[in-house]
């Protein structure tokens, strides 16, 4: 069971690494949503599943399932609220951050 948990943790760390790289590669706010999406959904889900497999106990399983559900509910909402705030404040859709807008 511990080996499967370690495999899950390793895959989650690979996804989080891709998210960190994509923050530095993209030069646009609306492109950077993909980093937030990767880290918040896939990375967190695999990480917490791996942690749940590492220590198989009732109280921990209940709390980690609660944590997974909470992250899946709130993190897309918070990203959407942030991007909606940028769009309603008339930030141009194809702006390049390196040039002066």
């Amino acid at each position: 069971m511990i080996i499967i948990g370690w495999i899950f943790l390793s895959i989650a760390m690979i996804f989080i690494l891709f998210g960190v790289i994509s923050i530095f590669v993209f030069k646009n706010l609306y492109m950077r949503i993909i980093a937030s999406t990767i880290i918040d959904t896939v990375g967190s889900f695999l990480f917490l599943i791996g942690l749940m497999l590492l220590l198989w106990d009732g109280a921990f399983i209940f709390r980690i399932i609660l944590l997974i559900g909470f992250i899946f509910l709130t993190s897309p909402i918070s990203t959407h609220v942030n991007i909606r705030s940028a769009y309603l404040s008339k930030l141009p859709l194809d702006h390049d951050q390196r040039k002066s807008v």
Binding site: L29, S36, D40, L67, S75, T79, N82
Partner: protein, 94 residues
């Protein structure tokens, strides 16, 4: 101190999470718009939540998982309230 495989693996994972948080913090300092900073703040809070959960599993304490859940609630409130504050023009009125 005995370097077992568990210590090396968990230490590597925690170190990578800390490095990612440091990189995001430096990116916060060197970026332009306020929405970029809010996005990076959201990512940093997610990483702190994962770190808390990992430490709770290593030391087998249920209290730290409750603290992680509370931290997630507070980070969600922070994001929504900051975004509404920015939409309102920074004056705080709805």
């Amino acid at each position: 101190m005995i370097w077992t495989a568990e210590i090396i693996f968990y230490g590597t994972v925690m170190g990578l999470l800390m490095l990612a948080m440091i990189a995001f913090f430096l990116k916060i300092l060197w970026t332009r718009y306020v929405w970029n900073r809010l996005l990076l703040l959201n990512l940093i809070s997610t990483k702190i939540l994962l770190l808390l959960a990992l430490y709770a599993i290593i030391t087998a304490s249920e209290l730290l998982l409750d603290i992680a859940l509370t931290y997630g609630i507070i980070s969600f409130l922070t994001m929504t309230l900051f975004s509404k504050f920015v939409i309102a023009g920074g004056k705080g009125k709805e």
